[in-house]
């Protein structure tokens, strides 16, 4: 196998790539050299130019200037077709599968194998899919319906599809973003096997913890410029973060203890059938409480009930000591509660609407004069928010889908803040956003606390919760299974609790 002379054997080389869009230079002098049979991490904050570069490599965009070499030969004009011929393929975050079809049918979709009569030869497709899966030691039934598979396994189907095309260079765009820890491990196993079989992988991720586990080398882009390439082994994560952000992120989690005031929210024995059971806790002003737990432990469900999007079947809710019944989102907002969702795209933003529209939708009453929307009022409110939260957009009238993930998240924060909430529930506030934006989100949370808000943060990233929260509550199968003050929170203890293996903490 060729990987033995890895020193000079570059399967893909990108030199001095420049890409201009009308009015913007997206990439300037970007270089990328990928060794055959390696796993190469492509790193950078959102907007650094990773996706543009990937699109150029896969032929979706054509570079303004610069050269692309595949196997040492320069490619004149990269198109999606030539990329396919050169055995380059991209696995996107959004999967491209037909859910109603089987694994095998998906692998061969558009290139169905037919019998001599012209009908689809399901047997042969299943056999060939089985072979591919076996070769890469993937356990998956070719006959299984994609619908019935977990997200992780669906991703694997996507990989199988690419492998069936005999692809050499596989580009993975944030594959682990939607996966649980176990699934991530499984994916890493597959990536290792791909590597063993001589495949080259370009790996895009925001989860820097993954780098040491599976990547060999990295290339960093920042603001459309090439910054550095190196071996993962020779760099610490902190070095890499510093290179990505262009400044030293010593204080990754800017935690300050705020003045804790009176009780903001108290739940007493709240349940919703089949979702959350016997939840009791209280939350004070100026306090940030983390909600930890596995996916499916009922954290978002609990939040939705507090926010009135769903209803508790039993139990009492008190706000500032007064009992309240919250049976609609409107009522929750009027009571000073706001919830930002975990899935920005699905239920967080109005994609085709402007930034302004997205910001003020929950607080339209504040921009009315005699029931009429006053644009001037709206503009001044949203402009203040833009300044306060450092939202990067040239124009508040542009559609929100044109903003980066981090900025979209800030717009949603702004939407929450404009309702003047006292209790803010943030569900996975930093999912899919880059390091720099994360730090800003943490700063905003810190400011919220300082100004007397009570904050609940739901996150699957434990270090994040431990970094920014005053207290961590752990949920397991719909119940509160433990509580840790900041000082006593340790990752291992919280995980045990989340898995339900810790007994003594069970009464909260």
């Amino acid at each position: 196998m060729s990987s033995s002379h890895a020193m000079e054997d570059y399967i893909l080389e990108v030199k001095d790539i420049r890409k201009e869009f009308p009015g913007v230079v997206a990439l300037k002098n970007v270089n990328l050299k990928v060794k055959r049979g390696s796993v190469h991490a492509l790193l950078g904050e959102n907007g650094a130019g990773k996706s543009t570069l990937i699109k150029i490599i896969s032929g979706v965009y054509t570079q303004t200037s610069g050269h692309i070499f595949v196997n040492g030969n320069e490619v004149d004009k990269m198109t999606p077709k030539t990329a396919m011929k050169l055995k380059i393929a991209v696995i996107h975050q959004e999967l491209n599968l037909v859910p109603q079809m089987s694994v095998a049918e998906n692998v061969f979709v558009g290139r169905e194998i037919t019998t001599p009569v012209g009908t689809v030869d399901f047997k042969e497709m299943e056999r060939r899919t089985g072979e591919i899966l076996k070769q890469f030691k993937i356990e998956l039934d070719p006959k299984a319906k994609v619908n019935d598979l977990s997200i992780a396994n669906q991703q694997i189907v996507e990989i199988a599809k690419i492998l069936s095309l005999d692809t050499d260079i596989i580009i993975m765009d944030e594959p682990t973003d939607v996966l649980t820890d176990n699934e991530t491990e499984q994916l890493f196993g597959i990536v290792q096997n791909l590597k063993k079989n001589g495949k080259t992988i370009i790996y895009i991720t925001h989860r820097l913890g993954e780098l040491e586990q599976i990547c060999d080398e990295f290339t960093i882009l920042r603001d459309g410029e090439y910054i550095e390439t190196g071996a993962i082994r020779e760099h610490t994560i902190n070095d890499i973060v510093a290179l990505m952000v262009g400044r030293d992120l010593k204080d990754q989690f800017p935690y300050t203890k705020a003045k804790v005031g009176e009780e903001a929210l108290r739940l007493e024995d709240c349940s919703r059938k089949g979702v959350v059971e016997h939840i009791s806790f209280s939350l004070k002003k100026g306090e940030a409480v983390g909600l930890a737990g596995l996916v499916g432990a009922g954290r978002s469900e609990l939040a939705r009930c507090i926010f009135g999007a769903d209803k508790f079947d039993q139990g009492k809710v008190y706000i500032e000591g007064k009992p309240v019944v919250i049976d609609s989102v409107r009522k929750a907002i009027n009571n000073g509660i706001y919830y930002t969702t975990e899935n920005r795209k699905e239920d967080g933003i109005f994609q085709n609407a402007s930034v302004n529209f997205n910001m003020t939708i929950s607080s339209l009453n504040d921009i009315l004069t005699k029931n009429v929307i006053v644009k001037r009022k709206e503009n001044s409110l949203t402009h203040d928010m833009k300044e306060k939260l450092l939202i990067k957009t040239a124009d508040m009238g542009v559609e929100i889908k044109n903003l980066s993930g981090g900025n979209q998240q800030k717009v949603i924060f702004a939407r929450a803040l404009l309702t003047h909430p006292k209790i803010i529930i943030l569900d996975e506030p930093t999912r899919g956003i880059d390091v720099g934006a994360k730090a800003e989100i943490y700063r905003i949370i810190s400011d919220l606390k300082a100004s007397g808000n009570a904050v609940i943060v739901i996150s699957s990233e434990l270090p994040e919760l431990m970094g920014i929260c005053d207290r961590i509550l752990v949920m397991h199968e719909g119940k509160l299974n433990g509580e840790f003050a900041k000082e006593e929170a340790a990752e291992s203890k919280i995980m045990q609790c989340a898995f339900g293996v810790m007994e003594e903490e069970s009464d909260v």
Binding site: Y339, D347, Q351, F357
Partner: protein
């Protein structure tokens, strides 16, 4: 550097054209037609077009609201016929024409609200619900009228055939409806909510919007405007025809789509666009009449225009993305 600036400028022009593309298409159409037949630009003809467009324009405004909220209303033609019939029967039974008209319009609103209730509360697909009510109310109209027209006894002729100065009264009604709905959609909470629900129902509901109530109201508006349009036609003809409004849903959908509403995703479309859309159809009909195009061709041409409009829309959104 100067290259970039030039690109920006031409890009700006392109963007403006794309943004107001339906207006440009209307303008282009008018220029072409006026070159082919000089009669076209006469005041009488222009007012003629405006009056003929009234019927479809008013329905299309309601239809656009429904499409923007992410639904569809196929029942407008039948609602129109049935509400008009109610007005006719009220007049026959001695109710003063004006009040009979108002009651007819409100009745259309009620039918719309019933469809809306089924769609919002039972979560039924709007296409099916309104397809059903289209059939139900056409049947009712036939049953109640026995298939015969009902005379309006010249009570409300002014609403259909009257003039204020040299402007037909229906045109003024259309303009008033347009202004009100433009205001509602752009300057009120309710309008924002409609765009929000159409844009993303989940997000809307998590933003504190009463999704069900607003949906029901929008179908109510569609029914109301369909009935209003029907009463204008009936007033002009001085009779409520049982087959009135047959197939009008198609012209209304066409006007909304030509005007920029999207059938595949809600939250997109403007009132101005819809008015222009209905005028494009109106001008086209008028031009083909002036040019003596056979009625058989006219129907096909309308179909082609819808296709071309949607193709242009697709192409320009693609340009915007790249």
């Amino acid at each position: 550097m100067s290259d970039m600036v030039r690109m920006n400028k031409s890009e700006k022009i392109v963007n403006t054209v794309i943004k107001y593309k339906s207006a440009f298409i209307l303008l282009l159409l008018c220029v072409c037609v006026s070159l082919l037949t000089p009669q076209f630009l006469s005041w009488t003809n222009i007012m003629n077009i405006a009056r003929q467009t009234t019927t479809n324009g008013i329905i299309a405004i309601g239809m656009a609201c429904v499409i923007i909220i992410g639904g569809i209303d196929l029942s407008v033609g039948s609602v129109l016929a049935f509400s008009t019939l109610i007005t006719g029967l009220l007049i026959t039974n001695g109710v003063p024409g004006f009040w009979a008209g108002i009651l007819g319009v409100l009745f259309g609103g009620v039918i719309g609200i019933i469809s809306g209730l089924l769609i919002a509360e039972l979560d039924l697909p709007p296409f099916i619900v309104t397809l059903a009510s289209m059939s139900i109310f056409r049947g009712f109209t036939m049953l109640v009228s026995g298939g015969m027209p009902v005379s309006l006894q010249n009570e409300i002729s002014f609403f259909g055939a009257g003039y204020i100065g040299s402007v037909p009264f229906p045109v003024i009604i259309l303009m008033v409806v347009f202004l009100i709905m433009w205001f509602v959609m752009n300057r009120t909470k309710f309008g924002r909510h409609i765009y929000a629900i159409g844009g993303n129902e989940q997000t809307a509901s998590l933003s504190g919007i009463n999704v069900k109530r607003d949906k029901i109201l929008v179908y109510g508006i569609s029914g109301l405007l369909a009935a209003l349009s029907g009463i204008i036609i009936a007033a002009r003809l001085n009779s409520a025809q049982p087959d009135a409004g047959n197939g009008y849903e198609m012209d209304a959908i066409a006007a909304a789509v030509i005007g920029g509403c999207s059938m595949s995703q809600g939250g997109i479309g403007t009132m101005g666009g819809v008015i222009i859309g209905s005028f494009i159809i109106g001008v086209l009909n008028n031009a083909m009449n002036l040019l003596n195009v056979s009625p058989f061709w006219q129907t096909s041409v309308k179909g082609f225009v819808i296709l071309i409009a949607i193709i242009i829309d697709r192409m320009t959104t693609r340009v915007k993305k790249a």
